[in-house]
Symmetry: none
DNA sequence: GTGGTCTAGACCACC
DNA sequence: GTGGTCTAGACCACA
């Protein structure tokens, strides 16, 4: 996996987990890979994965059974959607509108870009 | 001036300079405040302003006359717009599209939000 | 390490890094000493080393892995040679020719000196 | 006059004076332009010219008659040549040889460049 | 552990 | 006065 330099790796791993759950690959109640396993898989220090799991557990998206591993929470899917939608509408979108305004970028430009993005 | 904790202060000062130039308050060839002056003005350590000016000079937005001060470059305005547009289209927009996709947010939803934003 | 007063220390440290890479002591992909380590080693404030590394990263001679350290870039060697050659032919050489001209120093005189230099 | 950023302006003005004397335009015993005159002429702060003249007087290349102005010293020409030759052979040349060595630049390359330089 | 940022204060060359 | 550099020491996010 390749990591973006603008965002902490542990959050990018969280996004990776989100993808797995949103896509249905990992379902509620299912055990997810261990810290070491995922670390080796993504070529990342296990400590970094620990941090991701800490974060996800704090958001009640995964939970821990001591000595066994981490599991996808029941409400994981809804929580992820909720979490991301909230962030999207409260922070990502307004900041985008602001820079659009400042740079004189029109909505039609965005729509064109979006169509290009979909086609890929 | 109040600073956001998510972004280095020296880059926020760069944004401040961008604003001044984009708004036409500081024009090409004009001298801008000295490191010490701006530092005192924004309640920031002069060294932090030095760092901002280093960055802006690297981007050819300001230039230096030794012993005199910093001046707005001729092409400053265009460079700023170009810089910001590049960042917008290469990083901000794609990341937005990705989360839109993941969360099933449609373009029409965005447009509605945009109209609300404009009205404010 | 002893530093020359005519040139900023952080650039002299850059030259030190250049030497290490040109001599093959540090090879592409290899991790280089940390800011603190090199600072202690060269008896220089770590911040000064930070500045060197900033410069070298800007020139794409080293790159950074967050939380891990700095590494020699793949193309480092070529870039260093290119950088130094550019500086030599665009600035050092013409200024030498100019003073040769002004002082009436001939090429043969230079060649003699060069042979002496080689012998040492 | 255009100034190079690598060298203090006051020393570049000194080079300008050297040129005038070496070319015979200003001869021994002759009065040279006043600080204000030269400052206006070269678009430089008069204080900077003062510094140049200080330096030149220290090197006994010009001398001062109070209330009248600065004059070219008798031995000016020889001193300039001596000064520049000394600097050339003791510092400029060795440093050039060093970088030639480090970058693998041969003498023939230099000679070719020199011929190009002469033709201009 | 790593680098990134910031402050405070100092000294310097230069204009 | 200006910027350029350096030190010392601090706090932080990240791996």
């Amino acid at each position: 996996m390749e990591f973006n330099n603008n965002k902490p790796i542990y959050l990018q791993i969280a996004d990776y987990v989100f993808d797995k759950i949103l896509s249905g690959e990992w379902t509620a109640g299912e055990r997810i890979p261990s810290v070491r396993e995922l670390g080796a898989n993504l070529q990342v220090n296990p400590n970094t994965v620990v941090r991701t799991f800490d974060f996800l557990q704090g958001e009640s998206i995964i939970f821990n059974k001591r000595g066994i591993g981490y599991f996808v929470a029941e409400e994981a899917l809804q929580r992820i959607v909720k979490l991301n939608r909230a962030k999207f509408f409260s922070s990502q979108l307004p900041s985008m509108f602001k820079t659009m305004n400042a740079l004189g970028i029109s909505c039609t430009e965005i729509l064109t870009q979006y169509e290009d993005f979909i086609k890929q």
